[in-house]
C-alpha cells in the first residue's frame, strides 16, 4: 500500500484529505508543521508528500530546500498544496521545478486532486 505524508497545519484540511485518501486505498501519515514533516519523511518513507507552504515552526519552502539538499526530492514525489499565490520569487522557482504539482487548494476540486494523486502513484 502506497503511503502519503500530509504536511499541513490546518486540521480541517488534513482530516478530510486523510479520510478521502484512505477511502481510495492509501496509507496516510500527518505532520502539522514543516519540522515534524521532515522527521516523518525520514521515519515513514512516504511515496508522496502533500506539502503546505505557510506553516508554523518551519515553512514549506524551507522543507523543500532541505529535502532537495538531502536528495529526498528525487525518490519521493511532492505536490505543493497551498493557498499561497505563487508571487514570491522562491515559490516561482519551486513552481518551475515541479510545474504541474503546484496546486492552489481553493482552486482545485477534491476529485481532481484524488485523480492526480492516483495517477502519480500508479
Amino acid at each position: 500500500m502506497k503511503k502519503i505524508l500530509i504536511v499541513e497545519d490546518e486540521p480541517a484540511y488534513s482530516k478530510l484529505l486523510k479520510d478521502q485518501l484512505i477511502k481510495i486505498g492509501f496509507a496516510v501519515v500527518i505532520a502539522t508543521n514543516g519540522k515534524n514533516g521532515l522527521q516523518k519523511v525520514i521515519t515513514e518513507k512516504p511515496d508522496l508528500i502533500l506539502l503546505d507552504i505557510l506553516m508554523p515552526i518551519m515553512d514549506g519552502v524551507t522543507v523543500l530546500k532541505k529535502l532537495h539538499k538531502k536528495g529526498f526530492d528525487k525518490k519521493t514525489k511532492i505536490i505543493i498544496l497551498t493557498n499561497y499565490e505563487p508571487d514570491e520569487r522562491a515559490i516561482v522557482a519551486i513552481m518551475e521545478s515541479i510545474p504541474n504539482n503546484y496546486l492552489v487548494k481553493s482552486n482545485v476540486k477534491l476529485d481532481e486532486l484524488m485523480l492526480k494523486i492516483k495517477k502519480i502513484l500508479s
Binding site: L16, N83, V104, N107, L110, D111
Partner: protein, 510 residues
C-alpha cells in the same frame, strides 16, 4: 552828417539783426480797445521768419485775416504794452503761419509798439521731440522698474516654492556647476550652499541597485543627446556619510533653451516610506488572501466530499439543492478573492509571469473544451475556428492566456440568451495573433463599451442580467493583454451581440 551816419547805422542794425523786427501802430475802437494794428516798418528777417511779404502799411487783419480767431491774445498783449508801456516776452504758436515764435514787445511811444521775434519752430519741434523721448524713457524706466519688481516677486516666489517642496532639487549647468540647490537637497546631501559654490560635480552620492555610482557627466551627456524635453526617472540609493542608504527616486530633466541643453535639474524624492508601505501592503495581501482562502477552501472540499458521496443521493431534493447552493456561492467567494488578488498584483506591478513557447490555438482548444460544459448548461453552442494552419508559436504565459479567454467566454455565456452561439476565431496577421470571441447575446450599449475595461465597472445591462459579477474580469484581461504588448477591443450592437478582439504580437524570445 552825423544824423545821416546814425540813420544809416540804425537802418543797418535794423536790417541785419538776427531777430525779426516789426514797428507797428495800434488801432483802437471808440472804447479804446485794441482792434487792429498796422505794420509801419519790418526788416528782412520779418519776411524770412513769417513768410509774409509786402506788409508795410497794411493792417494785420488784411495780412492774416484768421489771426483775430487763432491768436486773439496777440492783440490783447500788444494793446496792453502800447497802453502801459510795460514790455512783454512770451512764446506763441501762430496757427495760420504754422510757426512758433519767441516774441519781445515794447512800446517806444504811446500808440506804437515794436515786436522783436525769433522763429523757434525748429527748437520747439526738437524740444517736443525731446519731451517725447523723455516721456518714452520715463515709461521704459517705469516698465523696467515694474519688471524688476515682478522679477523680484517671482524670484521670491520661486525661492519659497523651492524651499517648501518636499523634494530635494539641484540644478546644474553643463559644466557640472551647481546653479540652484534647495534646503531639502542640502539636508539630504548633508551639505550647505557654501560647499557647492564654484564647485564642480561629477560623482554624486547616489548608487543604483547594481552599486554603480551616478555620474553627472554621463547624465549630462544623456540629456544633451536627447532632442525632446523628456525627463528620466530612475531608482537610486542615496548613500549618507554614515554609509546608511535611503531609497530615492531621481528625476533628471534637461534645461533647454530652444534645442540647446544648458543644464539639468535633478529632483530627489525620498521613497523610503512608499517602499515600506508597498512591502506592508504586499505582505498584508498575501496573508489576507491565504487567510481568506483557507476557510473557503475547506468549505469547498467538505461540500465536494458530501456532493460526491453516495449518502448525497439519499438526501431530499431540497437538501440536495441547499448543498449545491452552498457550494456554488462558496465558489463565488473564492473567485472574488482570486480576482481581488489579481487586481492587487496588477496594481503593484507584481503579476507573476511565466512565459513559455506555446501554440495559442492548442491552448484555446483546451480552454474551449473546458468551457463547453458551462455553455451546454446554458443551452449555448460553442465553436472554435482556427483560420490558418501555420500560426507560429509564441512566448506567452499559458495560464494567463487561458484565464483571459475563459473570462471572455464566461461573459459571452452569461450575457447570451438560450439557444445562442459563441464562436472563437484564431487568426494570424502581420506578426500578430488575433483571437475573436463572437457572441449572439444581448450586446453592450456604446456608453458602456468605453468603460467596461475599467476596474469595478459594471454596466446597467450587466447588473440586470447577472447580479453576481465583480467588475474585475475585463480589467484583469485588459491588464494582461496590455502587458504582452497587445490590445483588447470590443465591437457590439444592442440586441445583436458582441465581439471581443484580442491581438497579441508574436514573441520569438522569452
Amino acid at each position: 552828417m552825423k544824423f545821416a551816419i546814425e540813420n544809416n547805422l540804425y537802418k543797418s542794425i535794423f536790417d541785419n539783426t538776427f531777430d525779426g523786427l516789426a514797428c507797428c501802430e495800434m488801432v483802437f475802437d471808440a472804447n479804446k480797445n485794441p482792434i487792429d494794428y498796422i505794420y509801419l516798418k519790418v526788416n528782412k528777417n520779418f519776411e524770412k521768419f513769417t513768410g509774409l511779404k509786402n506788409v508795410e502799411g497794411k493792417r494785420v487783419t488784411q495780412v492774416i485775416p484768421e489771426m483775430a480767431f487763432s491768436n486773439p491774445e496777440l492783440l490783447e498783449i500788444y494793446g496792453q504794452v502800447t497802453i502801459t508801456g510795460q514790455p512783454q516776452r512770451f512764446e506763441t504758436y501762430v496757427k495760420p503761419l504754422k510757426r512758433w515764435f519767441l516774441i519781445s514787445v515794447y512800446s517806444p511811444k504811446k500808440g506804437f509798439f515794436v515786436v522783436v521775434f525769433q522763429n523757434i519752430t525748429d527748437q520747439k519741434i526738437i524740444k517736443d521731440y525731446l519731451e517725447d523721448v523723455r516721456k518714452a524713457t520715463a515709461n521704459v524706466l517705469e516698465d523696467l522698474y515694474i519688471e524688476k519688481e515682478n522679477l523680484e516677486h517671482s524670484m521670491a516666489k520661486d525661492e519659497a516654492i523651492l524651499s517648501s517642496i518636499g523634494e530635494g532639487l539641484i540644478a546644474f549647468d553643463t559644466n557640472q556647476n551647481v546653479m540652484i540647490i534647495n534646503q531639502v537637497a542640502q539636508t539630504m546631501l548633508e551639505c550647505d550652499t557654501k560647499n557647492f559654490e564654484d564647485k564642480k560635480f561629477d560623482i554624486l552620492p547616489f548608487v543604483n541597485e547594481a552599486g554603480k555610482s551616478l555620474s553627472l557627466v554621463d547624465q549630462l551627456q544623456d540629456v544633451a543627446n536627447q532632442t525632446s524635453k523628456q525627463s528620466i526617472n530612475s531608482f537610486y540609493y542615496l548613500v549618507r556619510k554614515d554609509k546608511t542608504r535611503i531609497s530615492v527616486m531621481l528625476n533628471i530633466t534637461p534645461i533647454q533653451i530652444n534645442t540647446e541643453v544648458i543644464g539639468v535639474v535633478l529632483v530627489i524624492r525620498d521613497i523610503t516610506l512608499e517602499k515600506e508601505i508597498d512591502k506592508i501592503k504586499s505582505e498584508f495581501l498575501s496573508l489576507a488572501s491565504h487567510q481568506l482562502r483557507t476557510p473557503l477552501g475547506i468549505c469547498k472540499w467538505y461540500t465536494e466530499a458530501i456532493l460526491e458521496d453516495d449518502v448525497f443521493k439519499t438526501f431530499s431534493k431540497t437538501t440536495q439543492n441547499y448543498l449545491k447552493e452552498i457550494y456554488r456561492n462558496n465558489g463565488r467567494l473564492i473567485a472574488l478573492v482570486s480576482d481581488l488578488l489579481s487586481v492587487s498584483c496588477i496594481d503593484q506591478g507584481k503579476v507573476p509571469n511565466n512565459p513559455k513557447l506555446i501554440s495559442v490555438p492548442s491552448v484555446i482548444k483546451k480552454t474551449i473544451q473546458g468551457m463547453s460544459v458551462l455553455a451546454k448548461k446554458h443551452g449555448i453552442t460553442l465553436h472554435l475556428e482556427i483560420m490558418q494552419t501555420n500560426i507560429p508559436k509564441t512566448y506567452l504565459d499559458p495560464v494567463k492566456i487561458q484565464e483571459v479567454v475563459e473570462n471572455l467566454i464566461a461573459n459571452a455565456v452569461t450575457y447570451s440568451n438560450p439557444s445562442g452561439s459563441i464562436t472563437v476565431c484564431v487568426n494570424y496577421l502581420d506578426h500578430e495573433i488575433l483571437i475573436s470571441i463572437i457572441d449572439t447575446g444581448i450586446g453592450i450599449c456604446p456608453k458602456d463599451q468605453k468603460n467596461i475595461f475599467t476596474k469595478f465597472y459594471r454596466s446597467k445591462t450587466a447588473t440586470s442580467k447577472n447580479t453576481k459579477g465583480t467588475g474585475l474580469g475585463l480589467y484583469v484581461a485588459k491588464s494582461y493583454v496590455t502587458d504582452w504588448g497587445g490590445q483588447i477591443k470590443v465591437k457590439s450592437s444592442l440586441g445583436k451581440g458582441s465581439t471581443f478582439i484580442i491581438t497579441i504580437p508574436v514573441k520569438k524570445e522569452a
